[in-house]
Amino acid sequence: MEDDILNEIVSSEDLKKFERLYLNESTTDNLQRGTQFNYAWCLVRSRYSADIRKGITLLEDLFKTEDSTNEHAKRDYLYYLALGNARIKEYTKALQYTRAFLSIEPGNQQLANLETLIKKKMEAEGLKGIALAGGVALAVGGIVGLGFALAKGKK
């Protein structure tokens, strides 16, 4: 199996482990953001799109409720939102997330790599001509004004 960041699969062992931690904390009303992030990070690497969608929902929730000064956390969520969406072939959304990220941090090689990978995948699937609807300001998954939300956290 040829691996890359878009088709590498989380082991079911790990997915279960981080799910258990998440559920334990949720049921005791003691859910840590880090636990939710770790679980979401595993979910978006699942082979099942239902898991990936669940991961995306958890990441959107983290993004919306994150302290606006915590720019690092927001970068993490954006990156995995882009990755998760790309893995369920929601390429337009995925690229909006990478664009939002790159508009704040243009030189980021990791994001540039992800964007290239997504575009290659689209090309391979014959989706070359799909235009990006709207710009960065478009609401993606209920997250409005991504670029702005990020920029606010910047010094």
Partner: protein
Amino acid sequence: MSAPPYSYSYIFKYIIIGDMGVGKSCLLHQFTEKKFMSDCPHTIGVEFGTRIIDVCGQKIKLQIWDTAGQERFRAVTRSYYRGAAGALMVYDTTRRTTYNHLSSWLTDTRNLTNPSTVIFLIGNKSDLKDQRDVAYEEAKQFADENGLMFVEASAKTGDNVEEAFVETAKKIFQCIQDGRLDLNATESGVQHKPSQPGRQTLTDQSPKPSCSC
């Protein structure tokens, strides 16, 4: 379906680990792109890179997982250790704390990988000679005591970067030849690709040509 033709005969999985800021991503970038990133942001989660190298006449594709060193990613990055054939464990020669943390990185690696996983220790940023904080001899001794391969390298000048990645592959390849690494084990971190027509596979070669590495 017939197998696609591969331009390489093996895939080796590598991980790069170590404290944040020691230069893991720069080492990977220098190895795959031959360029230095002078202003590299912290990695988010994991990054990935590949390169095909030639070892003992075999084309080997390295699949390299570059893990984030920041604490908040640690729990999940551990899941990438499984099935690594090679682990590059990096510290920063100008920051002693990154060296002091090596034993905990090593324990993690030993616990999460196979006994056959080749661990290569890299003391990075060797170009910053005036700022040296860890003596070569000390690190060399640590490496010897723990059975690790070791070089000091610089992702900036490229010094010893190629060597670290390639020497690790040679060692893994030797383990395959010696039979110490079982190709059929699911978590060996090595995949053998079906050979192209007219091309010898390793097992066909008799007697084995002695590899000069």
